[in-house]
């Protein structure tokens, strides 16, 4: 029986180009999947968003998630926190729709081969996660970058998660949603790293969890040192001799390039994939979207919101009570009066 799949990614308009590239690859390999763009943003002036012209089927906005005190909740998060936080309420919502499975992919991932073996896995498992790293590193620098980093940021990379909409999958979705609504923070001192660190609990809290150790999934700079990336005789791309399913093009830009060079070394196909991806993203870029645009980056009066403002508001219940809409000029004025602007 064909599985009814909803696949979504979460992003703001500055990542629309990347999301388009992901959705195009999903359309190509899984034309029957229902593709959802989960957006935490407002349409920039000058941009017309016409779903019929986009490679996805539906947009779900932050307003559609039934979040209490939405403005205050949004304000408590920076862009990374909020885009990961909304994954929880949406995945829970999606389990209650008419689908058999829900798959999340980060907007900067891209499929190169169909995820059919994953669907097969979801016949017997309810939750599928991909670890950052599949085997121990040897070099000291690699241990620091690739082994130690997941110790605080989370063992599993939440650029991908797949669940059944019933059973343990549904139970996971509800738990994750509740945690992310309250604790999706980048706060290393408190042991939190957005939506990702939470999932270290998953293999214990839930049954029917499959830890996918297939090197063809979620290949990225942090694990490419352990994966041999090559073009095979059929013109397909392989990671350690299995088909590459999807690549995680994390940190498009100089930092991503540095990490890729550090760990891909002389694997030329990796650089060819990146080159191709960069071109695709450039082609998918709408010039009408201002650089680094995010509707919730500023107060309503246009002044930029600092992370310290968000943290203060997050900590102080009195401020939350007084400024129900912290984006308002009132809160900006208060911060200024307190010498915190």
């Amino acid at each position: 029986m064909t599985m009814r799949v909803l696949c979504f990614t979460s992003f703001t308009f500055s990542y629309l180009n990347r999301a388009r590239v992901l959705f195009q690859s999903l359309r190509r390999h899984h034309p029957d999947w229902h593709l959802v763009a989960l957006m935490t943003d407002r349409i920039p002036a000058g941009l017309t968003l016409n779903i019929a012209d986009e490679p996805f089927d539906e947009v779900v906005w932050q307003d559609d998630l039934g979040i209490d005190n939405l403005a205050g909740w949004l304000f408590q998060h920076d862009i990374v926190e909020v885009c990961t936080a909304v994954k929880g309420p949406f995945i829970a919502q999606a389990t209650r729709r008419n689908f058999d499975a829900v798959i999340y992919l980060d907007p900067d991932t891209c499929l190169f081969n169909p995820l059919t073996p994953l669907l097969d896995k979801l016949q017997t498992s309810d939750i599928v996660l991909t670890p950052h790293l599949l085997e121990p590193e040897e070099a000291r620098a690699a241990i620091i970058d690739n082994e130690i980093c997941p110790l605080w940021a989370g063992i599993y990379n939440l650029g991908f998660v797949a669940i059944r909409t019933t059973g343990e999958g549904a139970r996971f979705a509800d738990w994750w949603a509740r945690r992310l609504l309250e604790f999706c923070h980048d706060d290393r001192d408190k042991g939190l790293f957005v939506d990702q660190k939470w999932c270290d609990h998953v293999p214990v809290f839930f049954d029917k969890v499959h830890i996918l150790k297939d090197p063809g999934y979620n290949t990225a700079s942090w694990n490419v040192s352990q994966r041999r990336i090559a073009i095979d005789g059929d013109g397909n791309v392989r990671a350690n001799d299995v088909l590459l399913r999807f690549w995680h093009f994390t940190k498009l830009g100089p930092l991503g390039d540095t990490m890729t060079r550090r760990y891909a070394r002389d694997q030329i196909v990796v650089y060819e994939l990146w080159r191709w991806y960069r071109e695709q993203v450039a082609k998918a870029t709408s010039p009408a979207i201002p650089d680094r645009y995010w509707a919730f980056a500023n107060f309503e009066n246009g002044e930029p919101i600092k992370r310290s403002h968000r943290l203060l508001y997050r900590e102080r219940k009195d401020l939350q009570a007084h400024f129900a809409n912290p984006f308002s000029p009132d809160f900006a004025a208060w911060l200024k009066a307190e010498g915190l602007a």
Binding site: F112, I231, D232, G233, D234, G235, N236, V237, T258, R261, R265, D266, I268, V269, Y271, E272, L273, R275, W276, E279
Partner: protein
């Protein structure tokens, strides 16, 4: 001033120097200047009667001769016409003293200590031609232009990976040798030569517009003379061969060009007339722009002039060739426009001919069949990731679609110089030629060949690169071998061919085949008793004459599985080895297992080359 002074000092014998080191003349650098910049640094002698390494002492100047720029900037260089000046040595001493004293430039001095002048001048012939001090050039301009001061330092890499150095406005190489290296920074990436190729690869449209931007105007000739010449051919009994290639084979020297010269003489000997068309401006693609193409016309090997393609078609039509009188031979259509080519062939009344598979341009936009110029993994089929990733496949045109029109219009016999290339053609399965045929340019036949040089067991293994140092021919792999094993007493490295590259511990010997001396490379291989030729082509060679020359010269071959016909000929003769990849090559040199390929350790190669009749074997 120091160069002129040195030239005239009696310590330098220009005539002897140029004759002893023939590469000097080819650099275009004044010999005395060459000695001061390059020669003395690499242990060359300034005159025949001086011991090596002792030159500077001979003229009683400080051993470290000052860099010319400082002195030169103080006083202009005399012209060549100026006579010797007896006071020059004293003046030079004062200039040296000034440059080493108060006017000392610490950046220049430190950079000069680590700078590889020989590398710089051969890598950047424009600098050599300009006759400027290379160290000064690098400091003033070169580094900003992304040039490298030596093989072990990449300016571009250092700049990209050390933004603090850029921000500080410090010369990157100076920073590296003065501080960066000690701080643990690296001077060069370890990402392999393919990374460099990819980093420099431009989209096809940009490549084409850049090439076209350098074109000058073509002086077109009157088509009256062309018409008259063609009419003469049409009225003379005998066949006419209408031949196409990518350049003027009478002017350019290369494998295919030499074959074309041979083919011309064979056709002429048979009594056939020969009309050859080549684009006035070369291009490594078909020209699909729709612009009218200017073509050079060679009639029986003589240039008649340059004409537009439509003018040539008109003249051919008016010349009135008899049906079946003209057959076409397509060696290459790179730089040609397909529709205009079809018009020209049709205007001559030709309906049949042959297409040579010298390269893969009929089936793919990259004529070497390389993905992004970096790798061959079979014909990149439409719909595959390999094709999707390739910048060549993402061009706005498709060579295969262009050739489809040619195949649907004419009866075409496909001629492949090797079974390997034919196999690839058939794997692509794009067109149905009227016939297919393998015609090797050269065949190796067994023969008793006397070895030119005595074989010394235990002598270093002589390892060579043959031909022009191009990346797709595997030069970077050879270069890496020399860098790793250049000081290993088990090996001795040779470069036989044009385009000497400096900065490497090898012996270069200029070798260029000419129409009169087709087997210059075979002779050179034989003369240096080369044990192993590194023919590490990264593209599937359709033939590779060099491989045959290496074998006929007595050398074995080391190659990789992607090298096309080089693999086939190596396996067929059993003379050499096909190693899985570069890591295996370096490992074989490190372990010494490669020493079994020494001439002294194997039976002498006993082959002679027999040249084929080329297109005449197909065109009746």
């Amino acid at each position: 001033m120091d160069v002129a002074m040195f030239r005239d000092s009696g310590a330098f014998d220009e005539q002897w120097y140029v004759s002893e080191y023939p590469d000097v003349a080819r650099t275009g650098i004044d010999p005395a200047r060459h000695y001061l910049w390059v020669g003395r640094r690499i242990g060359r002698r300034p005159r025949g009667d001086t011991p090596a390494h002792g030159t500077a002492m001979m003229v009683d100047v400080p051993q470290e001769w000052p860099q010319s720029a400082d002195a030169a900037s103080a006083e202009p260089l005399p012209t060549a016409d100026e006579g010797p000046d007896l006071g020059l040595i004293d003046k030079a001493r004062r200039a040296i003293s000034r440059s080493l004293g108060g006017r000392s430039d610490p950046i220049h001095d430190l950079v000069a200590q680590h700078f590889d002048t020989d590398f710089y001048l051969t890598a950047y012939p424009d600098v050599a031609a300009a006759g400027v001090d290379p160290v000064r050039h690098y400091i003033d301009n070169g580094w900003r232009e992304g040039r490298d001061p030596s093989l072990s330092f990449s300016t571009r890499y250092y700049v990209e990976n050390n933004p603090d150095v850029v921000a500080a406005g410090v010369n990157p190489f100076y920073h590296f040798v003065a501080a960066g290296r000690a701080e643990g920074r690296t001077g060069k990436h370890q990402l392999g030569f393919r990374w460099d190729i990819l980093a420099n690869l431009k989209p096809v449209a940009d490549q084409i517009s850049e090439l076209k931007s350098h074109r000058g105007a073509v002086a077109l000739s009157s088509s009256q003379q062309l018409l008259a010449d063609l009419k003469t051919l049409a009225s003379t009994p005998g066949r006419v061969v209408l031949s196409f290639s990518h350049d003027d084979f009478t002017k350019h020297v290369g494998g295919v060009q030499l074959l074309l010269r041979r083919e011309l003489s064979l056709f002429r000997a048979r009594g056939d007339a020969h009309v050859h068309l080549f684009p006035a401006h070369s291009l490594p693609f078909l020209d699909t722009s729709g612009d009218t193409i200017a073509l050079g016309v060679l009639i029986n090997g003589k240039l008649t002039g340059y004409f537009t393609s439509p003018d040539i078609a008109r003249a051919l039509r008016q010349a009135g060739f008899a049906a079946g009188q003209v057959r076409f031979v397509l060696h290459s259509l790179l730089g040609h426009n397909m529709d205009q080519t079809i018009d020209v062939i049709a205007a001559a009344g030709a309906t049949a001919g042959c297409l040579w598979l010298h390269d893969y341009s009929p089936i793919y936009n990259n004529f070497k069949l390389l993905r992004n110029d970096v790798q061959y993994r079979g014909y990149p089929r439409p719909g595959t990731i390999a094709r999707e990733l390739c910048a060549y496949a993402r061009a706005s045109f498709d060579h295969a679609h262009e050739f489809e029109r040619l195949f649907s219009r004419f009866r075409i016999d496909l001629v492949s110089p090797s079974q390997t290339a034919l196999d690839i053609w058939q794997e692509a399965g794009l067109f149905q030629p009227a016939s297919v045929r393998v015609v090797e340019h050269v065949r190796l036949e067994p023969a008793v060949v006397a070895s030119a040089a005595p074989i010394h067991p235990g002598a270093p293994l002589r390892v060579g690169f043959l031909g022009y140092p191009a990346a797709h021919k595997g030069w970077p792999v050879f270069e890496e071998l020399v860098l790793r094993f250049g000081d290993d007493p088990r090996y001795e490295f040779h470069h036989l061919g044009k385009g000497r590259r400096g900065g490497l511990a090898l012996t270069h010997r200029e070798v260029a085949a000419t129409a009169d001396k087709l087997d210059a490379m075979r002779e050179a291989v034989n003369a240096v008793s080369l044990d192993v030729a590194i023919l590490w082509s990264i593209w599937p060679e359709t033939f590779c004459l060099t491989a045959y020359e290496a074998l006929a010269g007595g050398s074995a071959i080391l190659t990789n599985p992607d090298a096309g016909n080089v693999v086939a000929i190596t396996e067929k003769t059993g003379l050499g080895a096909v190693l899985p990849d570069e890591a295996a090559l370096y490992a074989a040199f490190a372990s010494g297992s490669i020493l079994t390929l020494a001439r002294s350790a194997r039976p002498a190669s006993q082959h002679v080359m027999r040249y084929s009749a080329l297109s005449l074997e197909v065109v009746e």
